[in-house]
């Protein structure tokens, strides 16, 4: 989301130069500018909420170091002596080793596919104003309006018809497709904020549609793309319903399916479950850190365009 104030700088070429305004900044302004909103009180409040928000998760981690029986006799006791049995159990009984690769394969594949096709589509939908495109956009967004798990039976029959039951490819395609509405919805908003002058300028320089898209527009919406990637990765990584319904051989299961073995009919092995979740959540944290880095990088690049 930038303004026409920046347009003259953009016309200098596809790679935005660093703006000369840094030198225009008077010393006094710099000091004023770097004082964040809210000052010290704001910072304190942010950290207090951050710590407080983590307490339930810390409880989970703490409980993962105790046995389930001790959880049932004293739910909030301290994890001492530390017990790694649940981690061992989660890894073996939950078949984490095998399932990790499957999860990575399916999730990365689905998110990549979904994001790539959605970015392309969002660009077109944001740019072209024809009637058909408006209708198409509504069609895509209508996909958000029915929770996908209500359509699970038809999806199963569909994949069965294609012979894609018990196939990680089928699972990946379903996940990718389910991510398209959300991704398009968010990305069109961000694409719409880009001024049309950019494209005109690039066309004057002789860039064709594809180059323009890839080299100019996409980097400008990098924060949005990173956001979309995170919000598609996490639910797909954590989903157990589709793999349970669409996969049949154990070797193809994903990590969350392994975790469901700890849910009994009348009793749950909380300790192993928590341990498994701690392991399963670590990649998500890594992803999140990477994504926020992209978001920040994208923001600064956008501003200095």
């Amino acid at each position: 989301m930038t303004t026409t104030l920046q347009a003259p700088a953009a016309s200098a070429g596809p790679h935005p130069p660093t703006p000369p305004r840094a030198s225009r900044r008077p010393a006094g302004r710099r000091g004023r500018r770097t004082r964040p909103v809210g000052g010290l009180v704001g910072s304190t409040a942010l950290w207090i909420y951050a710590i407080g928000a983590l307490i339930p998760l810390l409880l989970m981690v703490s409980n993962s170091f105790r046995s389930t029986s001790s959880l049932y006799s004293d739910p909030l006791g301290a994890p001492w002596p530390i017990n790694f049995d649940s981690y061992r159990n989660a890894w073996t009984v939950g078949h984490f080793g095998e399932y990790f690769t499957n999860s990575l394969l399916v999730t990365i594949g689905a998110v990549t596919l979904s994001t790539v096709v959605s970015t392309m589509a969002a660009y077109a939908l944001a740019r072209c104003r024809s009637r058909i495109f408006t209708i198409l956009e509504s069609v895509f967004i209508s996909g958000l309006m029915l929770p996908i798990h209500l359509a699970i039976l038809p999806i199963f029959y569909l994949l069965d018809g294609f012979g894609l039951v018990d196939s990680r490819l089928g699972l990946m395609l379903v996940y990718a497709a389910s991510g398209v509405p959300f991704s398009i919805f968010v990305l069109t908003v961000f694409f719409r904020q880009l001024p049309p002058e950019l494209e005109e300028a690039a066309k004057i320089d002789g860039a064709n549609s594809w180059v323009m898209f890839w080299r100019i527009m996409v980097p400008l919406v990098r924060p949005a793309v990173a956001t979309v990637v995170v919000f598609r990765f996490v639910p797909i990584w954590n989903d157990f319903l589709f793999p349970l319904v669409l996969l049949r051989t154990r070797e193809k299961y994903t990590v969350p399916v392994g975790l469901t073995t700890f849910f009994g009919e009348y009793s749950t092995d909380w300790s192993s479950l928590f341990a498994g979740l701690v392991i399963a959540t670590l990649p998500l944290i890594v992803l999140f850190l990477l994504a926020t880095k992209q978001i920040v990088a994208g923001l600064t690049a956008g501003m200095s365009k």
């Binding site: 920046q6 909420y49 928000a53 038809p154 569909l158 850190l289 978001i295 994208g298 956008g302």
Partner: protein, 292 residues
């Protein structure tokens, strides 16, 4: 064509099954065998027969209350945090990650953790309140129909606050510095700058977040299920439309389960579609593009 791949993928794997699922509502079913075409009979049953006549409006009301609550709490908090984080470049990523961590954990476990924390027998929340002398505040949070729904709203906000923080953060990044700086130099306070300059430019992002929140609130399933069970305990106070769907589809012994539950799903879809269309129209009209 840029749109083609997305359309193909989406059309085959989402649109077609969705259409099928909605079409199921127009038939009567014997388990998974489709029976005769019955037109709107399943829908009429939703408005004339128990349990739907009591449960459907009540669940719908809860979904709406959930939407309002989430807008007020989660999105306002998210915007506030995003604004606070905006200039704190050093700590921003760390804090963003911390705020988003509840989102990364499966809702089933979130439900269990909070049920334990809020338990009237074992929960530390009530124990703490009693210690501090606020004994009258040590309510059975998830057991009292008046508080249970708000607990769901709060836990959901806690889980999802990362979403508005990230999205608003990205949007704030697109607001040009010069405008706010100029205002600050002219003597405006941070608040005035925000209200007159930054906020109007955020309207598209606010609109996006709001529409997505509406859709999310109408479809909410995982967290309410984890906190209140499939019957929306206590006594239906946390019942949502998706829970009603779940019970109708899987827990009753009715052989027409697919027919009734598909009718509920279709109804839900129509409501969400209508709501989103209205919201988008309003949003488009108010979109402000600087210099455009």
């Amino acid at each position: 064509m840029f749109v083609a791949p997305a359309l193909l993928l989406f059309g085959v794997f989402v649109l077609y099954p969705m259409g099928s699922a909605l079409s199921y509502a127009f038939f009567s079913w014997q388990g998974t065998s489709r029976g005769a075409f019955v037109g709107f009979e399943n829908f009429v049953a939703l408005f004339t027969q128990e349990p739907f006549t009591t449960q459907l409006p009540r669940a719908f009301g809860h979904n709406i209350a959930f939407f309002v609550g989430t807008m007020l709490i989660q999105n306002t908090l998210g915007l506030g945090i995003a604004v606070l984080l905006h200039r704190r470049a050093r700590t921003r990523r760390m804090l963003q990650t911390l705020y988003a961590m509840p989102y990364l954990v499966s809702p089933i476990v979130i439900g269990y953790l909070w049920t334990l924390l809020l338990s009237p027998t074992f929960g530390p929340v009530n124990a703490l309140l009693r210690q501090v002398g606020l004994k009258s505040w040590a309510l059975p949070w998830l057991g009292d129909p008046t508080t249970a729904l708000w607990v769901v709203v709060l836990v959901s906000a806690w889980q999802w606050v990362g979403f508005p923080v990230l999205l608003y953060g990205a949007a704030l990044g697109g607001v040009p510095e010069e405008l706010s700086e100029a205002a600050l130099v002219d003597g405006a306070s941070h608040w005035q700058t925000f209200r007159s300059i930054v906020f109007p430019l955020l309207v598209p992002a606010i609109g996006t977040v709001s529409i997505l929140t509406f859709i999310f609130a109408m479809e909410a399933f995982a967290l309410p299920y984890a906190l209140g069970g499939s019957t929306g305990n206590p006594a239906g106070a946390t019942d949502f439309i998706s829970l009603l769907f779940y019970r109708t589809a899987f827990e009753n012994g009715s052989t027409n389960a697919i027919g009734s539950s598909s009718a509920i799903a279709t109804l839900l879809f129509v409501v969400i579609f209508g709501g989103a269309v209205v919201a988008t129209k309003v949003l488009r009209r108010h979109q402000v593009r600087v210099g455009a």
